[in-house]
């Protein structure tokens, strides 16, 4: 560029948002500055970051006074229509773009969201595309939607559970998700499975674990089956539940309450109920109880030490 290295004569900003203070402050080139490509590139980057122009045209024209710089901000077109795609409710978020500014990245992001929504509603092979035709400052977005079959769960088998599994144990939504006849929401199923394993832990199967779900699709029938296996492992028991500290009265109360649990299968909820009852009775004789639990993997026992202390006077 011949004009480079000469002092700029004028800098003009025009087009979309040119009156906005942040637009004016984004342009650092000033009359009198030496014209430099990197200076203008930095201005264009700052203007672009404001997100109000779909195109920024920079022109430099030579004049007797020196180079004139013009930055023209082209506003994004407004979306006039969203057409095609059929009547699926999941596409409403794309239709609600009518009237908004056309932003290709936004449209693709929302198309991807609509696609995931269709998939979550059982159209596991759904694909949603969107293209735009822009003319005279207006955009028409055309949707290209292929839903494929709606998959429903034909089998949901959880083998090996030590706790009774019912039809709704892994249900994600009422009769609709992660139940036979409903849609598969795999991440939700995995979450519910982990909760189920937690339930096993709370009931004494401290080594319980589940296999990764084996998911199989039948494209022809539009069905999906899920199999997983739980390995509960050995069931742990309460240990000797020793009682330390406190006075004879406190220890007698604690002993009477915890004794029935000794050597029985470990049950977290049952122990919490016992501990709450024990604390109430101890409070009446001015004592508190702390509990410290350890797990013995050799004896397969949960040892809980009950430490009594007197209330501060």
């Amino acid at each position: 560029m011949k004009v480079e290295a000469r002092p700029i004569a004028h800098v003009t900003i025009k087009g979309a948002g040119s009156e906005l203070p942040e637009v004016k402050s984004a342009v650092h080139a000033r009359a009198g500055d030496t014209l430099d490509r990197s200076l203008l590139q930095a201005d264009v980057r700052r203007l672009w970051a404001l997100g109000i122009a779909s195109q920024i045209d920079v022109s430099v024209t030579d004049s007797d006074e020196g180079p004139d710089v013009e930055l023209a901000l082209i506003a994004p077109p407004r979306i006039e229509q969203v057409v095609g795609g059929g009547a699926h409710a999941e596409l409403a978020m794309l239709r609600a773009l009518e009237g908004a500014l056309y932003d290709p990245e936004r449209v693709q992001r929302i198309a991807a969201l609509a696609e995931r929504r269709l998939q979550a509603n059982g159209y596991l092979r759904a694909r949603v595309g969107a293209r735009a035709d822009v003319a005279c400052g207006r955009a028409t977005v055309t949707l290209d939607v292929h839903t494929g079959p709606r998959f429903r769960i034909s089998a949901l088998v959880v083998e090996g559970s030590a706790l009774p599994v019912t039809a709704t144990t892994f249900e994600g939504d009422l009769g609709r998700v992660n139940v036979i006849g409903g849609m598969l929401e795999l991440s939700g199923f995995v979450y519910e499975l982990s909760r189920w394993i937690d339930r096993h832990h709370g009931k004494g199967w401290l080594e319980a674990k589940a296999s990764d779900p084996d998911v199989r699709y039948d494209e022809a029938r539009g069905s999906v089956s899920v199999h997983t296996t739980i390995a509960p492992g050995p069931r742990y028991r309460f240990g000797a539940l020793p009682i330390d500290g406190g006075d004879a009265r406190g220890r007698a109360i604690a002993e009477a309450i915890v004794a029935p649990l000794r050597a029985t299968p470990y049950d977290l909820v049952a122990f919490q109920a016992v501990a709450a009852r024990m604390r109430v009775q101890l409070r009446e004789v001015g004592q508190y109880a702390n509990t410290i639990a350890t797990t013995d993997t050799v004896k397969r026992a949960v040892e809980i030490t009950i430490q009594l202390r007197r209330a501060a006077p």
Partner: protein, 428 residues
């Protein structure tokens, strides 16, 4: 045995036998968990919303109808006027926070907020997170597009599109909200859509008439000295001797013994309180001069069960703000109940001692926590709201309630208050 009991509860709920806040579960709870959650939220608002204002509700609903008619919706969404917060969509209902509503400057600005929410309903944005995880960047795009489409709906309904810009400027901005675009960014994009020469009627006079006489705050109560006054329940709760305390518009929390002991007081709706009382263990009744006070131990975390049982129980605990077993006292009144909660230390005796100190508020306390009311004062001359606010009894409140840069002509109404707010908690 336990598993059988849980299964029975689950079966009852699925058949509509469950209950929430004094009534059977809504029919939405037989469709989807999302629809059920929305319906339960709305019931919770009915249990403890702001004092009903039928005229204001009818006015806001009329504006919602005017916008809905130019949208793709087949019917106008119901509108609930709630307490705190801005506006949001719950299911197909628009919930509008009263505190924010009165800070708007015109009917067109009210229409702008409603139009934004109506776009969320058109697009099925509400509850998306129930079925799929939506990242923050995508949520920001949905919010930004709702602003922009709302401009089109406003113009179709005969309002100036610039009202969307003014409404955004009036609503409180949350800089930590990652799910909305930054306000400056929203305003910049709106500037590309809005015609500044649009002179359509913004309906300011109608809007001001609709909100005149109403409270600026929520009339939930406030702190007076070391006590919290609950005007609806007619109770004053003195805070025990604590080392540190936090106050909000409807709660007071104190901490003692290096934060090991916590004393909290807040209000619940009458039905939420009744359900809490029914679930207290070690329940006993104290017969005090203020009436009967139920004391007991609050339940711990929500039990296991079907997804519906877990949802309902989780929502109960959220209403109660109780997630761990705590010692509580419930003082029930017709319009609301006041809750005292003690954690740590000798909570059982502390709760009883604290309940015995609760009393009726004095006339001075009632007066101090009453929210100022909005009054319209004619501008003595032309000027901006910021300049003319000195005409009002509380100029700072007048500047906060309206856009200080808004230009008024002589005789135009200035949004003033009838008195100076006496507490930070009652009228923020």
């Amino acid at each position: 045995m336990r598993a059988a009991a849980v299964a029975l509860v689950s079966a009852l709920s699925a058949c509509g036998g469950g209950a929430y806040l004094g009534a059977p579960l809504p029919s939405a709870c037989e469709r989807t968990l999302g629809a059920c959650e929305y319906a339960l939220h709305l019931r919770a608002w009915a249990d403890r919303g702001p004092a009903p204002d039928p005229a204001l509700h009818a006015y806001v609903s009329r504006i919602a109808n005017r916008i809905a008619r130019v949208s793709t919706l087949a019917r106008t969404p119901p509108v609930v006027i709630a307490g705190e917060g801005s506006a949001a969509v719950i299911g197909d209902t628009i919930v509008f926070g009263r505190e924010q509503l009165v800070r708007l400057g015109s009917e067109a600005e009210l229409a702008a907020v409603l139009a934004h929410e109506i776009v969320h309903i058109e697009g099925g944005h509400a509850g998306l997170n129930r079925s799929i995880a939506v990242d923050d960047a995508t949520m920001r795009e949905l919010e930004g597009s709702a602003d922009e489409r709302a401009v089109m709906l406003l113009e179709r309904a005969g309002y100036p599109g610039s009202a969307m810009v003014r409404a955004l400027e009036r609503l409180r901005d949350d800089p930590f909200d990652a799910r909305h675009p930054r306000r400056e960014e929203r305003l910049r994009r709106l500037a590309l859509l809005v015609d500044p020469r649009d002179r359509a009627d913004d309906g300011r006079a109608r809007f001001l008439t609709a909100i005149a006489g109403g409270p600026v705050g929520l009339d939930l109560g406030g702190r007076v000295g070391d006590a919290f006054v609950f005007p609806r329940a007619g109770l004053t709760v003195p805070m025990p001797a604590v080392e540190h305390s936090d106050v909000g518009s409807d709660f007071l929390v104190g901490y003692a013994d290096g934060y090991d002991e916590r004393y909290a007081t807040y209000a619940l709706g009458p039905q939420a309180a009744a359900e809490l009382v029914a679930r207290l263990s070690e329940r006993r009744v104290l017969h005090l001069s203020i009436g009967d006070v139920v004391v007991g131990r609050a339940p711990g975390p929500a039990p296991d069960g079907s997804s519906l049982v877990r949802l309902v129980e989780t929502m109960r605990r959220e209403l109660w703000h109780l997630y761990e077993p705590s010692e509580v006292a419930v003082i029930a009144r017709a319009r609301e109940a006041v809750l005292l909660v003690v954690d740590g230390g000798d909570a059982r005796s502390a709760i009883e001692g604290w309940a015995k100190r609760v009393r009726a508020p004095t006339a001075d306390e009632r007066s101090r926590v009453r929210s100022p009311r909005i009054v319209l004062v004619p501008a003595p001359r032309a000027g901006t709201v910021g300049e003319l606010a000195s005409t009002c009894i509380d100029p700072a409140a007048a500047r906060d309630l309206d856009d200080p840069a808004r230009r008024l002509e002589a005789g135009d109404a200035i949004k003033c208050t009838d008195r100076v707010s006496a507490t930070g908690g009652a009228a923020r």
